[in-house]
């Protein structure tokens, strides 16, 4: 700036610095006095308190694990419980020689090499004053043996704890999920104050999705221990908050029936109540035993499960993507009516095959001789492919896919477990984007019968069927119906969440399609006629058979000749009772062959049990909170005897 300031004035600067240095010294002394005051407070004023606390005893701070919430089915059957057992815990800072101690312990109690390896791993990632589990689920004898020899093992003790148990083993495992020990990565990502290494955390299914509710909150305990680390007394305690109990909308017995009906086959059954979106059954076969995972599964068993060709850990109900086959025909028929491109009373002649203009290729009907003249109702009843080739072509792929999308075929449903996949409704844009090819008319044809690129999951089929049954109203499917506070017993019903409804053009069209689907079951020519026998309610449904591999143009598909793995999948969708639908079912039997023969009886069994055994006995009417605002006119609450 000004010229006169460019010359340093050393004396002035020295004095300036000296004054600041003195100030610095004074501030330092002042702050030190602050510290001394604090120290005086601790060491003189509160000396007695602290002296007592430290004198030969120690104050130990321990987390107290909360009790995990129980899981019940809709009728109060216990699906996941906590059983008490003892485990061996070691506090490493109180143990001089870990290896020697372990060696000595092995003489009393069975400790496997896997246990030791895991223990050593936990040791590294935890503080030395934290107890680490060495072996869990001690038998009574082992507990007794240790108790007698306890004095030899400072820093080691048996501690009671709860472990998770699934009394029904694999039943409903894909919906229920299981818990396991928390891993390093999980500890990083979640609120780690509520968890410690070795705690249980939900890994899949409901156990995981509702982990926050089930877990509760950790409590804190201040205990006084002697020099050996033995607890003398509890100084104070912040009680843990137990997790909430959950009531699922699943029924244990219905689930059993669904799984048994699938038998030896791989496949899935999804049953939903259209009134509130409750998932009544979510079966995926084969299943596996979740109890194996709770204690920590050994690698051999795990590899066996993972590498099994039937893939038991794969949740087919929400992740299996299959071509829906003929089950989409009602939806396509409805598209034709809503867009006004067909007259339901006009018949098309089906000769067993169909050809496009200017194309040599014959698109075949499953019935080689053809169905003869069929109108829309007959085409649905007998599942005529040729009618729907034609209808699909008339609609065009754009209108077709546009109509199907609101039914949820290209979205996830939002069910309350994770891992859901969506199917695929092919569109022109999709094909251009993923395969960089234009759309061919032949592909429209096969989309019209639910083959080709078209894929759906069993859950999507069930929810789309429910939407059809309820005249477009859609609810998010959910497995958990209510929570219960274990202390107060207060039960809170969770409300249903509506999804975006399917726009309804003319409700008469919907009624028409539903009538046709009813005839699929109840008319003699219906492909699912066999399940109408003895039914005390009207069922609307549609069978489907989806190709696993194609056969040449003129070959005949003979199921017995084709290896089981390559046989068609058998599908069925349906809902009942037709006038007031309370259950919508989607069944897929992998490589089952015929939808009518194999898949529909499963749906019938499930419907029977729910409508005849469960609903009539449900004392509670559907709570008002569960009835969404836009329910169609023709649904009512459960009949009360």
């Amino acid at each position: 700036m000004a010229f006169q300031h460019t010359i340093k004035d050393h004396f002035r600067e020295t004095r300036l610095f000296a004054s600041r240095a003195v100030l610095a010294l004074l501030i330092s002394i002042g702050l030190m006095i602050v510290l001394l005051v604090r120290l005086f407070d601790l060491q003189v004023v509160q000396h007695d308190t602290y002296a007592v606390l430290s004198d030969k005893n120690r104050v130990h701070i321990r987390g107290v694990s909360p009790t995990r919430g129980l899981i019940y089915d809709r009728r109060g059957v216990l699906l996941a419980e906590n059983l008490p057992s003892y485990r061996l815990e070691v506090i490493s800072e109180q143990v001089d020689d870990i290896d020697a101690t372990i060696a000595e312990l092995r003489q009393l109690i069975d400790i496997s090499d896997d246990d030791i390896a895991e223990f050593k791993q936990d040791l590294k990632s935890n503080k030395r004053y934290k107890p680490i589990s060495l072996r869990s689920r001690l038998s009574d004898e082992e507990v007794a043996r240790f108790a007698v020899n306890r004095y030899r093992f400072p820093g080691v003790d048996t501690v009671a704890h709860l472990y998770r148990h699934y009394p029904f083993n694999g039943r409903g495992v894909h919906a229920l999920g299981y818990v396991g020990r928390i891993s390093e990565q999980e500890l990083q990502t979640i609120d780690s104050d509520n968890y410690e290494g070795g705690d249980f955390i939900g890994k899949t299914g409901v156990e995981r999705f509702y982990e926050d509710l089930l877990r509760g909150e950790v409590g804190v305990e201040r205990i006084e221990t002697n020099a050996q680390g033995r607890t003398l007394r509890v100084l104070n305690r912040d009680a843990p908050v137990p997790g909430l109990n959950l009531y699922l909308s699943l029924d244990a017995e219905l689930q059993r029936i669904a799984e048994a009906a699938l038998g030896d086959n791989n496949g899935a059954v999804v049953a939903i109540d259209p009134i509130d979106g409750s998932v009544l059954a979510l079966a995926s076969m084969p299943t596996f035993d979740p109890n194996l995972f709770v204690g920590g599964i050994d690698s051999k068993t795990y590899s066996a499960l993972e590498n099994s060709p039937d893939q038991p850990m794969f949740n087919r109900a929400i992740r299996g993507r299959y071509p829906p086959g003929s089950t989409v025909k009602p939806f396509i028929g409805l598209a034709g009516l809503e867009y006004g491109v067909i007259d339901p009373n006009v018949s098309t002649y089906c000769q067993g095959w169909y050809m496009l203009d200017g194309d040599e290729r014959k698109y075949r009907d499953w019935k080689i001789t053809g169905h003869g003249p069929v109108d829309l109702t007959q085409a649905i009843i007998e599942s005529c492919d040729v009618y729907f080739y034609d209808l699909a072509l008339t609609l065009g792929i754009d209108r077709l896919s546009h109509f199907l999308e609101p039914f949820g075929f290209s979205d996830i449903t939002g069910i309350d477990i994770s891992g859901e996949l969506t199917g695929l409704v092919p569109t022109r844009a999709w094909k251009r984007r993923t395969k960089r090819q234009p759309w061919y008319p032949g592909e429209t044809l096969i989309t019209g019968i639910g083959q080709g690129f078209f894929l759906t999951t069993p859950l999507q089929l069930a929810t789309a069927t429910a939407a059809l049954a309820s005249y477009g109203s859609q609810l998010r499917p959910r497995l958990v119906a209510a929570t219960e506070d274990p202390d107060s017993g207060e039960k809170v019903w969770l409300p249903s969440t509506p999804n975006v409804a399917v726009p309804v053009g003319n409700p008469d069209n919907w009624a028409y399609i539903i009538r046709a689907m009813t005839k699929v079951v109840h008319s003699v020519k219906g492909t699912a006629h066999r399940i109408s026998r003895g039914a005390n309610f009207k069922i609307a449904g549609k069978t489907g058979t989806s190709q696993v591999f194609g056969i040449k143009q003129d070959e005949k598909y003979v199921a017995e000749d084709v290896a089981k793995k390559l046989r068609d999948h058998a599908l069925f969708i349906g809902f009942a009772p037709v006038d007031k639908p309370r259950i919508s079912v989607a069944v897929i039997v992998e490589n089952g062959g015929s939808g009518g023969a194999v898949a529909s009886p499963i749906a019938r069994e499930v419907m029977d049990y729910y409508l005849n055994e469960i609903l009539p006995n449900e004392a509670l009417p559907v709570p008002a909170a569960n009835t969404p605002a836009n329910m169609p006119v023709n649904t009512t609450q459960a009949p009360i005897p």
Binding site: K8, E13, A24, L35, Q43
Partner: protein, 375 residues
Amino acid sequence: MSLFTARAEVLQANRRTLADRLHMDVPLLLCLLTLAVISLFVLYSASGQKIDVIWRQAVRLGAAFFIMLALAQLNPASLKRWTPWLFTLGLILLLAVLFAGDTGKGAQRWLDLGLFRFQPSEMMKLAVPMMVAWYLSDHPLPPNLKRLAIACLIIILPTLLIAKQPDLGTALLVASAGIFVLLFSGISWRLIIASSAALAACAPVLWHFMHDYQRQRVLTFLNPEQNPLGAGYHIIQSKIAIGSGGLYGKGWLNGTQSQLNFLPERSTDFIFAAYAEEFGLFGILALLAVYLLVIMRGLLIASQAQDSYTRLLAGSLVMTFFIYIFVNIGMVTGLMPVVGVPLPLVSYGGTSMVTLMAGFGILMSIHTHRKLLPR
């Protein structure tokens, strides 16, 4: 002043004593040695009487003292000349760490140089105040606003780079070292108060923009005892140890060392609690007295320094030393949040010891290289 200049004349003429030849400042050296001895005694007890811990600490102390000796031989003028180079090198290394650094314990702080690992941020604890002093010293003090702004830039740049590693603790220490230089350079009190107020005003704005979980983290950080299973555990144990020491302490080796459980990570920071337990309030008074002597001697050396660069640098080094003490003891007694600052020279190991002793070496160099100034 004239008495000192006379002594300096005589010393310059004779250069007889060993201390002079080694460029050692005796009072400072004695205090530091006292601290080193205290360190060994306390560690012996706190480690559960493990000789090899003491041995390792002694080796570290020896190395640190050697570095102090080496730096004391340097002429401050040379140090001043090298300053911009060192600072630039430091910046480059910091950038290197960010892009090619080793992630030890989840933060990129180290450069693995094969033989050993080097923490450039540690070096910046010295390089930043040196650079700021270098920049400000060739012009009249206090600096005008423009020069002040550039000085701030010199501080902010490495601070941000270190904070990005992320190493917030070291970043703050580096920034504070630079800020001390600014404070000593005589900027007006009005300016100091205004900028403090501005910084304080930032806090509620920052608070407003934080997410809930970030706020929770800050609250937990500020009040660790709310978190008895996590960071609060050590504070609780530490207070018990300190409080139980009383006026006279339990005596050497009589602390319930199980109280603190010599954990390699935290014991470096909580060693004061072990000292307090064994030597009581009077022991603490003695320790603080030694620290105070170091500070007084340091500030005296700074005041007697003969040019601005050395003055400013020395002042900053001494106050940084004080900050370590204050923050560590504050943390251990539950007054301040847990930040991971070791107790100078007494804590077990750490690169901080080397940096601190290097700083003292510079102080001694400044003091013992004074030339006679014609009046």
